[in-house]
């Protein structure tokens, strides 16, 4: 087993080496090709050549939209978990705040009857999610470790219960006729309609690219260095003059912002938001995606989020000895996670530092025991 691992590792190192040593233009060319590939992906003329990759059980464009939302969520959660090292078990709660804010402000089912357009509700949703992130983070981020995990878990569950039980949030009946994002083609037809999921996917894809550029710059700045130091040793970070609380709150609020963005986009696409969209499991899936991909690495988060969401959808409609695989999707993920934790705890595409941190912690365990 070790030899297989070493073989995989050496292969990965060779790829990583190649990538880092490649000339700048070549790296940009590869990135551009990947981006073009993903923009082209939802077109039948393109994906019909891709063999078993397109889904059979459901519309591939719709699947890609779902996958892109998960990727956006994974990129956001990666800031919190991967960069700052804060365990957030209720990240999907921020998605809910974003989606419900849009729903309440725009839907005719809402008691407010404000009937705002989507684009007007969007900034309100973003600000509200950030505020909820700050409100949740302020009391808990002063404490260490486990408290945050418990409080965030409670937060997501509280939102689910509130959405299910309160009249204002409409329970399972939900909010309908949530307006779509604005924009129309030259012939007057709206870009964002009911039938074609592709424009939504392209919109989310574009936002992912923008968010990734922003997050990457942030992570390479003083803010990023502060996050890494907090993740590696919070006391030491403080002793070096890093205002740890402030930066943890920053990470938490930035993550919340991106979660809220994903929720608002989802509401604008789906037309309909109800408490059934708020499964606790979603938080866990996103966390699993980040860990699977390689916590602390943006590319890892993208790959993890994409892979997890895609595989879940891929299972739909596939029967195996008479049972639908989709029904067993979570068992499968549990299994994959367990295997990952044993053989590759740093994730598929780990962050260089994270690998060293894991080794360091292992050494500590040995020394301590």
């Amino acid at each position: 087993m070790t030899s297989v691992r070493e073989w995989i590792d050496s292969g990965r190192h060779a790829v990583a080496e190649r990538w880092h040593n490649a000339p700048r233009w070549m790296r940009w060319a590869v990135i551009a090709a990947v981006i073009v590939f993903f923009y082209a992906l939802p077109n039948r003329e393109f994906y019909q050549w891709l063999g078993p990759i397109p889904t059979t059980g459901s519309n591939f464009g719709q699947v890609l939209f779902t996958v892109s939302i998960y990727v956006l969520l994974a990129v956001g959660l990666n800031i919190v978990v991967g960069f700052a090292g804060l365990l957030d078990l209720g990240y999907f709660g921020f998605f809910a705040v974003g989606a419900y804010t849009v729903a309440v402000l725009t839907s005719p089912s809402s008691d407010l009857k404000t009937l705002w357009p989507w684009l007007l509700a969007l900034p309100v949703a973003l600000v509200l999610t950030m505020v909820s992130g700050v409100m949740l983070g302020t009391p808990t981020l002063r404490l260490r470790g486990d408290y945050l995990a418990i409080v965030t878990l409670g937060f997501a569950e509280m939102i689910r219960v509130a959405a299910t039980a309160s009249d204002f949030l409409k329970g399972q009946r939900g909010f309908n006729q949530i307006p779509h994002p604005p924009g129309s083609y030259s012939d007057g037809k709206p870009i964002f309609g009911v039938l074609d999921p592709r424009p939504y996917y392209w919109l989310v894809l574009t936002l992912i690219i923008l968010v990734v550029i922003g997050v990457r710059n942030l992570n390479r700045s003083r803010v990023g260095r502060a996050w890494i130091s907090i993740r590696e040793d919070e006391d030491a970070a403080q002793l070096m003059g890093v205002p740890t609380f402030k930066f943890k709150l920053w990470a938490f609020a930035s993550g919340a912002f991106i979660g809220g963005l994903a929720g608002a986009l989802f509401a604008g696409k789906q037309n309909f938001v109800s408490s059934q969209n708020l499964e606790l499991l979603n938080s866990i899936i996103i966390l699993a995606a980040v860990i699977l991909g390689g916590s602390g690495n943006i590319v890892g988060a993208i790959v993890g989020g994409g892979l997890v969401a895609y595989l879940i959808e891929r299972f739909r409609g596939i029967e195996f000895f008479g049972v639908e695989l989709y029904e067993y999707r979570f068992m499968f993920f549990g299994l994959v996670l367990v295997v990952m934790m044993i053989f590759r705890p740093q994730g598929l595409i780990p962050n260089r530092r994270r690998a060293a941190e894991f080794k360091d912690r292992r050494k500590e365990v040995i020394v301590g025991g």
Partner: protein, 238 residues
Amino acid sequence: MTTLLEIEDVSLLYGRIKALHGISLTVNEGEIVALIGANGAGKSTTMRAISGIRPVASGRIRFNGEDITKLRADLRVRRGLCQAPEGRGIFPGMTVLENLDMGAYTRRDRAEVGKDLAKVLDLFPRLAERRKQVGGTLSGGEQQMLAVGRALMSRPKLLLLDEPSMGLAPMLIQQIFSIITEINEQGTTILLVEQNAQQALARAHRAYVLETGRIVKEGTGSELLHDPAVKEAYLGVA
């Protein structure tokens, strides 16, 4: 002689457990002051109170004429107070250079930081050799040096060192203590916590003895070095 650090009747609690029972000590500018005591006496706790990692229950801490009792830890660093934490308190995933750079986190004078980096690498040639290596893969001694070097990068007025000789081979202990003296001679005031009382007292201008959260003795380094009770309890001489 001006007083740089003044601790007055400071108590500190861990939950219900009182770890410091009203301790008082002073550090004057230019001194090396040693704080010695057995394992669990409260030496690291005293350091935590000074650097602000743990809030004090009562008492006052003054630094450079300012009351910093309630000041946040990161702001104390900006005032010129920097601690090299006990044991492996370095950033394991960062390289030696990145660790040292974190030491200068609060500073904006990049040119001066560059000069200080050269000085630190001069002081610790081992670190210079391993500048690109990640901290977690350094040996225990190298990690200690890195922790001291990193604290120096903040250009502190007062350097707090928590057991810099812990777990080191005898030769390395000698080396780290001469470096401490050298740092002091270059103008940095030092508060040194040690279990290695012999070395600490030999190098210190003044020293305090801590027992179960109380200061039980103080004097110059050589006074304590020749004190019969100290000899028996901390120097292993009957």
